[in-house]
């Protein structure tokens, strides 16, 4: 890097430019895009720009460091003055004018030029000319458009080697008084005028001395315009901060020549013109040069005071600044502005960015701003201007702009509003710096992210719903056992009803019913206890389809099974038997100890008698029969703490068992005797089991019952040992089952697994039993056929 000597002016200028380009505030590296824009603004052919870039070493380094930047600027100046680009010329060229960059903001240019040029007389004229010339075009720049094109402007503008720092300092409006005489004319007339100038100015792009005259004339025109606008603005208090600063700047600037003087006015004017809405652009532009805000041309910017006012209004409706104003409240509020509903509707459409029917602070400010604008006569834009879009911007420091009455009181009559508008208009545009203040007070986030709140709420609601549904959903697997228990407990009741007509046995059923009913509260209690741990779960898997209750007379059996399953690995095929024992025991015991016996036997017969119809009804019911019977038996026996009954049952059971054992078929043997024996044996089994330990350890009787059932069911013999093992295991773990309810997920998942295994086992059992049923039916048919064949003979 060649050493570079810069004059003081140059040094200052370059450093300002560097600051301008240093968007990331790194103090070391200039933003590449910004630099490129700057170079483009230098009006040099692209090859030259490339050459300059290479020369300064940026291509080598890959970025624009300070020194590279300075060198580049110097080279630009060299190139602009027509000298060949040489590294040597960096230090050799004397009296090199400062590099000129075409700036959109004439004022800024003019000012900057003036600042720098004054000490540097040589460069003054050309620079000012350059500055002036571009100004009209820049001025004429259509502000109406949303400033996506504004991106180019800041560059143009910013680069003026004025004292941007000075400008910034001046940002604070020092005296409103100054503004009036610079108040920009109302936009439409000035706009048009400047447009004309704009076209004229465009032709004068190239910095040439000749156009300066044109520029001057333009200035004069502009000056007249501001004069006309003075009246307008004089009444308006919030002068553009830019104006003020601008004015003060010019006042401070020692070399306040006519040029700067003209510049301020023209600047102001151009700024005004630039912004359809409001004048303030001038100062704003200057300040903006430094600020380098994105929409420097934006007439829709909200000034500080305005924003503060809007925020205060927002608070009156919605104290929470991060909350929403519902549509109805907003409607009332904005209706007070006495705008036609159609326009209000349009304003709403523009400002409700996320289309949620409510206004956030940002949206509210935008809407308010649009209403203000409309009241002041400005047309509503088709699209929401960028500066009004709710987004999180924090580009520049916010310049305080005194805006005394800029706030529009909606309660005020339209007449009042109108005058207010004017002041607000300037303030509207004044600060490019203020543009970003739009976010200052509000936690402005891009509307989309802001939706977090409602979506969060929604999420929470979903959560709540889910958890509540988990609670409520009886079949929720997570709520699993207890609710299932309760649900199935309820189901058995209707299931038992089926058996009632089939079996025509009241006692047994009643006992079973009572049992189930008894079980239900218990189950419910369990469900409640289970609900709490379930409630902890956030998401409940979709509840499994209800268990095939019809297949089991007592869903409780399944539950019991599950209980066991929770404890043990495999499910037991005799859930019913298992289920019941833990539940009811005490109550039915005394009453049923004796009755059940008879009842059970009757049941057995009835069951067997009904076995055929039952089997036809559903194969699953067949196993239910024995289960049912088992259950009742169990209940009786479990409840019965009287050994007296037990011995009787034992007697029954013994022969029963014997029969049963002889009977290879399961309880499904349609042979009545078999069935009866089955029943009896099951009963016996129950009794034996019950005798062992009435209710104290529910597991125990269950275990025994299971065992007896195993014995009684030959088809289950294969599984018998397995089952007994399983059952034993289940029993062992059963006591823990209620506790498992209170445990956390793991236990529940384990219980789910066990239940599933139980399901599979039961399904297998079911299929086997059905197969047996078919066989039995075939046998029966064959027997009946034989009987038929024999009968005629007997008749004979």
């Amino acid at each position: 890097m060649e050493s570079l000597t810069l004059s003081d002016v140059e040094q200052k200028y370059y450093s300002d430019l560097f600051v301008y380009c240093d968007t990331d505030n790194t103090k070391k590296v200039a933003s590449y895009g910004r630099v490129l824009d700057l170079f483009r603004a230098a009006q040099l052919p692209s090859e030259v720009v490339i050459q300059i870039t290479e020369l300064c070493g940026a291509t080598r380094l890959g970025h624009f460091g300070r020194s590279q930047f300075y060198i580049a600027l110097k080279l630009i100046a060299i190139a602009q003055s027509g000298l060949p680009l040489r590294v040597e010329s960096l230090n050799s060229v004397k009296d090199l004018p400062l590099p000129r960059f075409v700036v959109g903001k004439n004022e800024a240019e003019a000012r900057h030029v003036a600042l720098y040029q004054d000490p540097d007389s040589q460069g003054l004229y050309p620079a000012s000319a350059a500055a002036l010339i571009p100004r009209p075009p820049g001025r004429g720049h259509p502000n109406k458009k949303v400033p996506p094109s504004a991106s180019a402007h800041p560059l143009h503008e910013a680069v003026q080697p004025t004292a941007p720092s000075v400008e910034t300092q001046q940002a604070e409006p020092t005296s409103p008084v100054v503004s009036p005489h610079q108040s920009p004319p109302s936009s439409p007339p000035s706009w048009r005028k400047h447009k004309r100038q704009h076209s004229g100015g465009n032709a004068d792009r190239q910095p040439v001395a000749a156009p300066t005259g044109v520029v001057w004339t333009q200035f004069r025109e502009q000056q007249t315009a501001p004069v006309s606008g003075d009246g307008l603005w004089s009444s308006h208090s919030p002068p553009l901060p830019g104006q003020e600063s601008w004015v003060s700047f010019t006042a401070d600037t020692p070399p306040s020549s006519t040029v700067p003087g003209a510049h301020p006015s023209s600047v102001q004017e151009s700024t005004t013109i630039r912004t359809t809405m409001a004048p303030a652009a001038a100062a704003a532009t200057t300040t903006e040069v430094q600020r380098q805000s994105s929409g420097y041309d934006d007439p829709w910017k909200i000034t500080d005071e305005q924003r503060q006012y809007y925020i205060n209004q927002f608070k009156t409706i919605q104290p929470d600044l991060t909350g929403f104003i519902p549509g109805s409240a907003a409607k009332e509020f904005f209706t007070k502005s006495k705008l036609p509903i159609l326009e209000l509707s349009h304003i709403w459409e523009l400002s409700d960015f996320d289309k949620d029917g409510a206004l956030t602070l940002d949206e509210f400010c935008a809407a308010f701003h649009l209403v203000v604008a409309r009241k002041n006569g400005y047309d509503l834009p088709e699209k929401l201007p960028e500066s009004l879009m709710p987004k999180l911007i924090d580009l520049d420091d916010s310049a305080e702009v005194p805006e005394p009455t800029a706030d529009v009181g909606f309660s005020a009559s339209p007449a009042e509003v109108t005058p207010n508008k004017s002041p607000s208009m300037p303030s509207l545009n004044q600060a490019w710096p203020e543009m970003n203040q739009s976010n200052e007070d509000t936690a402005i986030v891009h509307p989309v992210p802001i939706r977090m709140t409602p979506s969060k709420i929604h999420m929470q609601e979903m959560e709540l719903k889910r958890t509540s549904s988990d609670h409520n959903h009886p079949t929720s697997p997570i709520l699993a056992k207890p609710p299932e228990v309760s649900e199935e407990v309820k189901l058995p009741v209707p299931a038992t009803m089926k058996f009632v007509p089939a079996n025509a046995v009241g006692d047994g059923y009643s006992s079973s019913d009572s049992f189930t009913s008894d079980q239900e509260p218990v189950a419910r209690q369990r469900s409640q206890s289970g609900a709490s741990p379930e409630a902890l779960k956030v998401v409940a898997p979709p509840p499994p389809p209800p268990r095939p209750h019809p297949s089991h007379s007592r869903s409780s059996s399944l539950d019991m099974n599950r209980n066991f399953a929770a404890a043990s690995a495999a499910g037991q095929p005799q859930p019913a038997a298992i289920a019941f024992p833990p539940a009811v025991p005490p109550r039915p015991l005394p009453t049923q100890s004796s009755v059940p016996h008879a009842g059970q036997r009757a049941e057995a017969e009835g069951a067997t008698g009904a076995g055929a119809p039952l089997t036809t009804t559903s194969p699953q019911q067949i196993p239910q029969q024995p289960n049912f019977a088992d259950f009742s038996h169990f209940q009786a026996f479990a409840a019965s703490e009287q050994p007296s009954s037990l011995p009787e049952v034992d007697k029954h059971s013994d022969p029963g068992q014997g029969d049963k054992s002889s009977d290879g078929a399961g309880p499904l043997r349609t042979v009545k005797s078999d069935g009866q024996a089955d029943e009896r044996t099951t009963t016996a089994g129950h009794s034996t089991k019950g005798s062992s330990g009435p209710l104290a350890p529910p597991p125990k009787p269950i275990r025994r019952r299971l065992k007896s059932e195993d014995e009684l069911r030959p088809e289950d013999e294969q599984h018998g040992p397995q089952k007994s093992n399983i059952i034993a295991a289940a029993m062992a773990t059963q006591p823990s089952i209620p506790r498992s309810v209170g445990k956390d997920k793991k236990a529940i998942q384990a219980s789910i697994r066990r239940n599933k295994e139980t399901n599979t086992v039961l399904a297998r059992l079911n299929s086997e039993l059905q197969q047996q049923l078919k066989d039995l039916l075939e046998e029966r048919i064959s027997l009946e056929v034989q009987l038929e064949q024999l009968r005629p003979f007997s008749h004979l």
Partner: protein
Amino acid sequence: MAVCIAVIAKENYPLYIRSVPTQNELKFHYTVHTSLDVVEEKISAVGKSLGDQRELYLGLLYPTEDYKVYGYVTNSKVKFVIVVDSSNTSLRDNEIRSMFRKLHNSFTDVMCNPFHTPGNPIQSKAFDEVVSGMLAQST
């Protein structure tokens, strides 16, 4: 691709109707009006069975030699009717559906506007834009 788009309120009066060949508007108005009968018929047919689960998109209501009429009804019994020129490359069902979806979305946006009273004709620039987008497609 549509030649006419209409939004009809629950009480079967138009909230918004716009057609592309502006000279023949009356004809389209008449078409839309007659199509309302078909819409009612479809609504009543499906309504009982599924209740609220009724499909919003009604599909082709009826074709004439010149054009086809598609219908869509919202849960609040607001009907959208799109008249499509038959000579146009036959639009796929999905395209019609997407058009209805867009209509529905911008219609809900209009409804969200607190300054819009349901039952009033729709005067929304955004909605107009959406409709124009659909109408203009038909060149």
